[in-house]
Symmetry: C2
Subunit: 161 residues, 2 copies
């Protein structure tokens, strides 16, 4: 396990309103994919440490939708909703994403799973915004902490399974 | 009716991979909105003159999805699918869009309806692509003809109703 890379890379594109995220996991694509679509798994890892997540809706399939709430340790509520454009098992998830605190801003998110040697997986995520200002507002909102800590929780879930 | 403007404006953004479309209609927002979500209306106007449209799925509501086929006069078939991020009656529709002939390219489309004097409506559409190349490929695909002719058919539908 000495070669394991668990660093989350989060990059803003130089010219387009895009955020790119790369992360590797110690589980095969089928398992990492399942953790992104199975509602019992999702509530165990998505979001920062110490938050609880409740699903108002979760239909993780092509043409489906979702709506969920994160509750912080001090009781603050954060609501998100979106639709699933395409859910292609173990390969690709394309979905929309709105953080209700950001008004009408919508991001289009694409996640691709790539099998690595040793039963590992690299996920590559792209979040596309309709303006550079909206992208930068998302970066400034604390989303990096949420992503990094969420993937640490996902590591633990994958070890546990 | 002498002041009616029925010109469709289609513009490519200078720096972002966006297409913007503006069009006015001789009907109020409620009616123009209905023509975009009612499946019986949609199949009567969406797409170029002479095409027939069949719906494999049509759930035009927040978190819903769609899949349809256009058949050209010479029998060519063109398939499209996507999801509805948000459907806000008479105000706004946000959806994803894939033309299956374009591989995995996905656009995020936002349409806003604005009430004008005289019971008329202006719609403003934005299609956001993940690269300038994908946006330019869509412009080169003949989409402009489809949009312009579709709105001509929508004019006729609105007069007919």
């Amino acid at each position: 396990m000495s070669t394991t890379t668990r660093e989350t890379t989060i990059e803003a594109d130089e010219t387009l309103p895009i955020i790119r995220i790369t992360r590797e996991f110690d589980a095969p694509p089928e398992r990492v994919f399942a953790a992104h679509v199975d509602p019992d798994d999702v509530v165990r890892w998505l979001g920062p440490h110490g938050y609880t997540m409740t699903l108002q809706r979760w239909d993780a399939e092509t043409g489906g939708g979702y709506r969920y709430t994160h509750v912080s340790p001090d009781g603050g509520e954060y609501r998100f909703f979106g639709s699933f454009h395409e859910v292609r098992p173990a390969e690709r998830i394309v979905q929309t994403f709105t953080f209700e605190g950001f008004g009408d801003s919508v991001a289009l998110e694409t996640m691709t799973l790539t099998a690595l040697d040793g039963g590992r997986t690299r996920i590559t995520g792209t979040s596309l915004f309709d303006s550079v200002a909206a992208r930068d507002a998302m970066l400034a909102s604390g989303m990096e902490t949420g992503v990094v800590e969420g993937y640490e929780r996902l590591d633990a879930l994958l070890l546990d399974a």
